[in-house]
């Protein structure tokens, strides 16, 4: 994944301002930043569902401006806001997306997804009635059902209890080991530690990039949280 001078403007407002970075295959790439820093906008552009105003982005070697529909065939996307169908059951939601992705052995794939989300026995429950943690597990299971080579997760663990969060990261780690590139945004600094590399965004710009160890060393802080706070506060005091 190669991103060069990527910019997105909404009218006068520049949400993403000339960012450049690259992500390696099989890497867990963390995207940190305060609310409104442009994380979701970036992720949406990379998924091919938002057109960049300028700049270039290659995802899996495919240009996101020119052929976004091609990008969509090999990525998985879990949006920040839960966006499966509340009035469908767990199984019906998974059946639907299995159909959309034309998964060949649908029954088997749906069964595996339910198992991996730890929702066995709850297949017939209406999705809208589920607790947040289960919903997020279901979203993740649905997003990886078609074995995407690149996975985009936009704050997957917000509002999730610590135990479920740990399970989430175990799943992410496994996917990465199996060769899936994972691009994940988060608020939790604990989670940032699990990432292979991190970038920190502020006001639409990438202001820091490196492995967790590199970042801590560079800014002479003991924890990533201190690195993050000092960088973001610098922006506020400016």
């Amino acid at each position: 994944m190669v991103i060069e001078h990527l910019t997105k403007k909404f009218g006068d407002f520049t949400a993403v301002d000339d960012i450049s970075f690259s992500v390696n295959k099989g890497e867990i790439f963390g995207f940190l930043g305060a609310n409104g820093a442009g994380k979701s906008t970036t992720i949406r552009m990379l998924c091919g569902i938002l057109k960049p105003t300028s700049g270039r982005g290659l995802v899996g070697g495919v240009d996101i401006s020119k052929t976004p529909e091609k990008v969509k065939t090999f990525i998985g996307y879990m949006s920040q806001k839960f966006s499966l169908y509340d009035d469908l059951t767990i199984q019906e939601n998974l059946n639907f997306f299995a159909g959309i992705y034309q998964i060949s052995n649908r029954k088997e794939a749906v069964k595996r997804a339910i198992e991996s989300a730890g929702l066995t026995g709850k297949e017939k429950k209406i999705t809208g009635s589920l607790p947040v943690g289960w919903k997020q597990q279901l979203s993740l299971a649905s997003a990886v059902m078609h074995n995407p080579s690149i996975l985009f997760l936009d704050e997957p663990t917000s509002g999730v209890d610590p135990i479920t969060r740990r399970k989430f990261w175990e799943t992410i780690r496994k996917l990465s080991e199996a060769g899936t590139t994972v691009f994940v945004t988060t608020h939790y600094m604990m989670e940032a530690e699990y990432c292979d590399r991190l970038s920190i965004m502020r006001a639409g710009k990438v202001i820091a990039l490196g492995t967790p160890i590199e970042l801590k060393r560079k800014y002479e802080k003991k924890s990533l949280e201190d690195v993050f706070v000092s960088l973001v506060q610098k922006g506020v005091s400016k």
Binding site: G48, P68, L84, F96, Y101
Partner: protein, 362 residues
């Protein structure tokens, strides 16, 4: 176009409808309710108009004519009068809605095979009843005048039963509104609930999305049509003189056309409330007022007449009346059917253009 995807979308849409009692009610119960309400309520038939008689002739021939009037279902006897003042008074106090005035030389003229003019004074304050009374009276006198070579027989609807002409038109109007309302929610709902964000991240194509969305509502529309036609035939006793195949073909095309209008509205509006209100206004008002269902198109100003030609309901009202009552399937319906096909094609092309499978258009 991938069948598996279309199937997945259609299946999901069916579940939405089944789980939402309101949309199911709108799709299936409301058409039946409307047909019953309007079918009985909108009847333009006139029964038992109170008729007074001023018989200046007072002969066998004149009494025969009076009997023809009072024996008809349209009129009932409401007394006699002997002067102009008397006739005026009877109408004024509402004792009679119409007064039949027969001239003194009535019998003489009839026996001499000449025409004689009888007068009908009608209370015009209810113009509809007045108009219909005149129409009925006209029919009765023409039939009664055995000498008249020109006896008028009303074609296609010999009893002039307005239920017969109202019901086919009513089916058209109801399907018009219901079909557009059904699809008006289906795209806007995806935007409103945020589920569109997940959908656009998949490799799903526009065509698959639209067809998958249309299929379930098409099924509901066809069920509505079948129920409405059965009600027309067996509840209201409207004859089906034309072929069932023609009825199915024309209606099937019309339902598709209006579903497309609904889906275009839904795609453009992106909010369920706005979309459903737009659908109601766009389909119901022109359908009711301009389609020729209630008001005669020939009596409209030229500009308005031109507008009526752009409304699918106009063609459907005409087609259904033709198939039900005339039973013909000549050149004209083909033209109207072609219009419906063209209209649907244009609407769907606009929808394809308006529909964006990304978040930029949000």
């Amino acid at each position: 176009m991938n069948r598996q995807r279309v199937k997945a979308i259609a299946k999901k849409e069916i579940i939405h409808v089944i789980r939402d009692p309101r949309s199911l009610g709108m799709g299936l119960a409301i058409p039946v309710l409307l047909l019953v309400l309007f079918g009985y309520g909108l009847s333009l038939n006139v029964d038992n108009v109170p008729l007074a008689v001023w018989d200046q002739s007072n002969t066998v021939t004149s009494r025969n004519l009076i009997r023809d009037f009072t024996n008809s279902e349209a009129f009932q006897s409401a007394g006699v009068c002997n002067s102009q003042q008397d006739a005026d008074r009877i109408i004024q106090i509402g004792q009679a809605t119409a007064v039949l005035v027969i001239p003194p030389d009535f019998e003489e003229k009839i026996t001499r095979h000449e025409s004689s003019t009888v007068q009908l004074l009608v209370d015009g304050s209810d113009s509809n009843t007045a108009r219909l009374s005149i129409m009925y009276a006209d029919g009765i006198t023409k039939n009664a005048a055995q000498t008249a070579a020109m006896s008028l027989i009303t074609a296609y609807n010999p009893a002039m039963d307005t239920t017969w002409s109202i019901i086919p038109g009513l089916i058209a109007i109801i399907l018009n509104v219901i079909a557009a309302m059904l699809t008006s929610l289906c795209v806007a709902r995806e935007w409103e609930n945020g589920t569109m964000e997940q959908l656009v991240s998949t490799p799903m194509r526009k065509g698959e999305f639209l067809i998958g969305k249309l299929v379930p509502y098409y099924i509901i529309g066809v069920i509505d049509l079948i129920v409405a036609v059965l009600m027309a035939l067996f509840l209201f006793g409207v004859p089906l003189n034309g072929s069932l195949l023609a009825l199915a073909g024309v209606s099937g095309m019309f339902i598709f056309t209006t579903l497309s209008v609904g889906i275009l509205i839904s795609t453009a509006a992106k909010s369920q409330l706005l979309a459903s209100q737009l659908a109601l206004v766009i389909t119901f008002l022109p359908g009711f007022i301009l389609s020729g269902f209630v008001y005669d198109i020939k009596a409209m100003p030229t500009v308005v007449q031109a507008i009526t030609k752009l409304i699918p309901a106009t063609y459907f009202v005409t087609l259904l009346r033709t198939i039900f009552l005339k039973g013909t399937w000549g050149m004209a319906p083909t033209k109207e059917l072609l219009f419906l096909i063209l209209f649907a094609a244009v609407i769907l092309a606009m929808t394809m253009k308006k529909l964006k499978l990304n978040l930029d258009g949000r």
